[in-house]
């Protein structure tokens, strides 16, 4: 068990690529923190810096009560689950789990006990004698988890561990990993580019963009109060609608915007905050034409175009009252659902 403190971490790769900059982050003991961001934003780099697989160019990294900048991965008391699992192909599942323990000089009966225990926890007890090649993708994933588990480390590190699984298994493993982490109470750092995975698993979410932290907060915090236009667009699916304030004003919504700061020139609206029914006075009212209906089971996504003919928006409805494509609609949203941003800096106001 340990807390992690990232004090102003930087990473510059040999070729001069600045992969990660200015990372200040405190992770509490037992916390499940998810790093999320688009491809190439430096998630893996940051995780690998914590693991000790990449050197830290600048800054100080503390795990527990030790500064670990100069320590080998094995000395950091961490365990890592790799995206492609990285199981040792020539070793049986048992030996895959036991290898790290043997290298640490753990005694045989203790190795046996821990491997059996982890195997039972992950329901891979029946495969202990098999080679990784003789397992399905999901089973391999469990073995990779098991290898981290038996070590009983202070910190778990996950680099997109579920990205090679099919959608259904991914949801199942997501729940299992989360439950396991709750039960063990081990501090965890988890990398994913899947924002749904990030939202559902995280105690706290760290949104990265271009090697920098955009926002840190609980999933609901980040969702309901995105700090930048980038976060607003990245978290939530379908993405938040971004409308120029001038457009809203020109269409008779000056009242609705009166409560927002004067420099709020960009306004965000979540697709689910928009409806077809009239709302309390002072809300937003927009005329639009329905371009496309996208049924997604429990909900339906409406792709619409505002009367200016250019601006597109997405609306998410749970109930669609007999609409046909090409129909003219009137959309309503409460004033409280507006997210004010300053376009130039991309920062949230209020």
């Amino acid at each position: 068990m340990a807390a992690i403190v990232m004090d102003n971490l930087h990473k510059v790769y040999a070729g001069g690529v600045r992969a990660v900059s200015d990372i200040m982050l405190d992770i509490a003991d037992g916390e499940f923190v998810v790093l999320v961001g688009p491809s190439g934003c430096g998630k893996s780099t940051l995780l690998r810096m914590v693991a000790g697989l990449e050197t830290i160019t600048e800054g100080r990294l503390t795990i527990g009560d030790r500064v670990v900048n100069a320590l080998e991965p094995a000395e950091r008391d961490i365990a890592m689950v790799f995206q492609n699992y990285a199981l040792y192909p020539h070793m049986s599942v048992f030996n895959n789990l036991a290898y790290g323990l043997r290298n640490r000089g753990v005694l045989k009966p203790e190795i046996e006990r821990r491997v059996r225990e982890a195997a039972a926890m992950l329901e891979i007890g029946a495969f202990l004698d098999r080679k990784p090649r003789q397992l399905s993708g999901g089973q391999r994933q469990r073995v990779a988890m098991g290898r981290a588990l038996v070590r009983e480390p202070a910190v778990f590190l996950f680099d997109e561990p579920l990205s090679n699984l099919d959608a259904k298994l991914r949801v199942q493993m997501r729940v299992e990993i989360k439950q396991l982490q709750r039960r063990l109470g081990t501090t965890s750092l988890y990398v994913t580019h899947d924002q749904l995975e990030a939202m559902t698993m995280a105690d706290r979410l760290v949104v990265l963009n271009g090697g920098r932290i955009e926002q840190v907060g609980t999933p609901m915090d980040v969702y309901s109060r995105p700090a930048t236009t980038f976060v607003a667009g990245f978290i939530g699916s379908p993405a938040m609608n971004m409308l120029p304030a001038s457009l809203l004003r020109a269409n008779g919504n000056a009242d609705a915007l009166s409560g927002l700061p004067g420099n709020a020139d960009l306004v965000g609206l979540r697709p689910e905050d928009i409806g077809l029914d009239a709302v309390a006075p002072g809300g937003v009212r927009l005329q639009a034409r329905l371009d496309l209906l996208e049924p997604a089971g429990a909900e339906t996504h409406l792709h619409v175009r505002l009367i200016d003919g250019k601006t597109r928006m997405t609306v998410r409805l749970s109930h669609v009252p007999g609409l046909t494509e090409g129909a003219d609609l009137v959309l309503h949203a409460p004033a409280a659902a507006l997210h004010p941003f300053e376009a130039e800096s991309g920062h949230r106001l209020l």
């Binding site: 693991a51 000790g52 697989l53 080998e72 991965p73 094995a74 961490i78 365990a79 890592m80 790799f82 995206q83 492609n84 990285a86 199981l87 040792y88 192909p89 020539h90 290898y99 790290g100 290298n103 640490r104 080679k131 090649r133 290898r147």
Partner: protein, 282 residues
């Protein structure tokens, strides 16, 4: 093949059978000729069926060789060849595995430079550097010794290059997982890299063994003492040495026995290939 054209089929088979015959016929002749009595060959006609003297001819070749022409018994030459071929093979493998490991997994100054130096030696096979190499070996007093036979041939980069290519295909995550699992470089090498390379090493072993076994020019040059004759050069000595007609039946018996060990190595290693192929994967 999906297509089934009788004519094309026939034609390709004729070509293939012709090709096989071309390769097999000399071997067949050697095997057929070896059990004939000495007189058969003086008539100038090549027999196509085996003769009656198999046991006797092979025994003579094995224990006496052709003493009048100064060639030692086959048994000794086979032993010499075996020692040379094994020394070359094991030496080459040991050096190439270690140096490939260094080049692929360690960052040291001038790493690329060293790689290219090793790579350059690929362009200098024994035959090209034979005169200076002979001088060096002579100065070191290694003429007529096993060291002289094998050490100069160990120094070549083909195997290093091939092992490096294989190491590069081993996923980097395995090394990282091993690091997280507390395995240092040597432990990773022993516990993970070597077991994964077994199949490739076996293949290299076969290639290198045959390369060593078939060395002709170099042993011919540096051995003057029959004690150190190897079998491949020994055959040549048997044919040209002495002043009488070559004893073809003995030469052929020698040829057959000289060809046997590489065949055995291939057969034995083939089992390892198959085992390796079915039990490991990258």
């Amino acid at each position: 093949m999906v297509e089934n054209r009788p004519l094309g089929n026939l034609l390709s088979h004729v070509v293939l059978i012709f090709g096989v015959a071309l390769v097999v016929f000399p071997i067949y002749v050697a095997i057929i000729a070896s059990p004939h009595p000495p007189g058969t060959f003086l008539r100038g006609v090549m027999p196509l069926l085996p003769g009656p003297n198999a046991l006797e001819n092979y025994r003579t070749a094995w224990t006496e060789g052709r003493s009048r022409a100064g060639t030692p018994p086959i048994s000794l030459m086979l032993t010499n060849s075996l020692i040379m071929a094994l020394a070359i093979t094991i030496g080459k493998l040991a050096i190439s595995i270690i140096s490939a490991f260094a080049i692929v997994y360690f960052r040291f100054p001038f790493r690329i430079f060293f790689f290219w130096i090793i790579f350059l030696t690929l362009m200098l096979p024994v035959e090209v550097r034979i005169v200076p190499t002979f001088q060096v070996v002579a100065d070191l007093g290694m003429l007529n010794s096993y060291a002289g036979l094998s050490i100069p041939l160990i120094a070549s980069a083909t195997a290093t290059f091939l092992v490096r290519q294989f190491f590069m295909t081993v996923p980097e995550e395995l090394m990282e997982a091993a690091r997280v699992d507390g395995a240092g470089p040597m432990k990773f090498f022993r516990d993970i890299l070597l077991p994964l390379s077994i199949t490739n090493i076996a293949a290299l072993f076969v290639i290198m063994f045959i390369y060593g076994w078939n060395q002709y020019l170099w042993p011919l040059l540096i051995t003057t003492d029959p004690e150190y004759y190897t079998i491949v050069m020994g055959i040549q000595r048997m044919v040209t040495g002495g002043d009488s007609e070559p004893l073809w039946h003995l030469v052929m018996a020698t040829v057959v026995m000289a060809a046997l060990p590489p065949v055995l190595v291939i057969l034995f290693m083939q089992r390892l290939f198959v085992k390796g192929l079915t039990e490991t994967e990258k």
